[in-house]
């Protein structure tokens, strides 16, 4: 009994305590490092995706502007005709020829009082840039031959509302 009470008190740092402390610190360091790297990678991926989407959008816009230029050239040529009654027939003929030549997928509506010409350019496999032009019925001097009534990104994918999950019965 006496022998036990004379036993020296255990030191604060036992053998193994420092190893435990180091293991704990390294676990903390590794956890925070992985969290930081995951967060940074996520930000970088998002920024890349955004940049890629912007690039695709402007590539589609450039194609749409080039198509617009070709349509405008057709309109300008057609309005050179002296017979204004034949202008829209000429425009329709020229645009149909342009459509089959350049594969522009134009859709035209000359039945209304203000004829419209529409076309779509693919941005990616899920989105299209849809453009609709309203042609001027009789442009005065200095006026444009058309005005842009739609320049809009639209989804090309079909919405599927039936997304049932196989829940536990």
């Amino acid at each position: 009994m006496r022998k036990q009470s004379e036993k020296a008190p255990a030191p604060f740092f036992n053998i193994g305590a420092s190893s435990l402390l180091v293991i704990f610190l390294i676990l903390c360091l590794v956890t925070f490092a992985i969290l930081t790297l995951t967060s940074a990678k996520s930000d970088a991926d998002f920024a890349e995706k955004l940049a890629h989407h912007k690039t695709n959008y402007y590539v589609a816009c450039n194609t749409a502007e080039s198509t617009l230029d070709e349509i405008d050239a057709v309109l300008a040529d057609a309005w050179q005709l002296s017979d204004t009654a034949a202008v829209f027939t000429e425009i329709e003929t020229q645009l149909t020829a342009l459509n089959s030549r350049e594969q522009l997928q134009l859709s035209m509506d000359f039945t209304q009082s203000e004829p419209t010409v529409s076309y779509a350019v693919a941005i990616d496999d899920k989105q299209n840039l849809c453009v609709t032009l309203t042609l001027a019925a009789a442009p005065a001097k200095g006026e444009a031959y058309y005005r842009i009534s739609q320049w809009q990104v639209q989804s090309s994918g079909e919405w599927n509302g039936d997304q049932t999950l196989n829940l536990m019965k």
Binding site: F13, I15, G16, S18, S19, L21, V22, L25, I26, L29, V30, F32, A33, I34, T36, L37, S39, A40, K41, D43, A44, F46, A47, E48, L50, A51, K54, T55, Y58, V59, C61, N62, E65, S66, L68, D69, D72, A73, L75, A76, W79, A136, P139, A140, K141, G142, E143, A144, Y145, Y146, R147, I148
Partner: protein
């Protein structure tokens, strides 16, 4: 005897401490590399976001026709976008007036003078007959690294002559 046992324990403790410090050093060196990589990745993402915003803002102004060549890159915050193609000023500007333009930004992405600049935004115009083509790019000045580039085409409307 007791002294010898105490000495053995101390040696063992010292050996353990040395091994722990060594192991901790190796692990911290690896973790610091991961932190550095994460920091650089985050910095690149911030740069790319900034470049995409500034370049697409410039592209929108060119597309909307609100950008006058004399005030091109420096007026990116003040130019108003009307979206009215009938009042498109780009149709009335001659091809020679479209000259290359630059804007400078410091490390906090604010507009600044060339001397303090870290990033440079360059707009290169290539006007054709009825098309205005522009090449917009954001680069770093120190290592001349390209961050983001965009090509924009703007159609300038023809006008009825009679």
């Amino acid at each position: 005897m007791k002294y010898q046992r105490h000495n053995n324990t101390s040696s063992l403790f010292l050996l353990e401490l040395i091994l722990a410090v060594l192991f901790f050093s190796v692990a911290s060196a690896l973790c610091i590399q991961i932190f550095t990589k994460a920091h650089l990745m985050s910095q690149d993402a911030r740069d790319l976001n900034f470049a995409v915003n500034e370049v697409s803002s410039m592209a929108e102004q060119i597309s909307a026709g609100t950008l006058h060549p004399a005030t091109a890159a420096s007026s990116d915050d003040t130019a108003a976008s009307s979206g009215d193609t009938a009042s498109d000023p780009s149709t009335q500007i001659s091809n020679d007036a479209w000259q290359d333009d630059t804007a400078y930004y410091d490390s906090s992405y604010a507009s600044c003078e060339k001397a303090d600049a870290v990033y440079v935004l360059t707009v290169h115009y290539e006007p054709e007959d009825t098309l205005l083509k522009a090449h917009i790019s954001m680069d770093t000045i120190a290592d001349n690294r390209n961050i983001y580039t965009l090509d924009v085409t703007k159609h300038r409307q023809r006008r009825a002559e009679s």
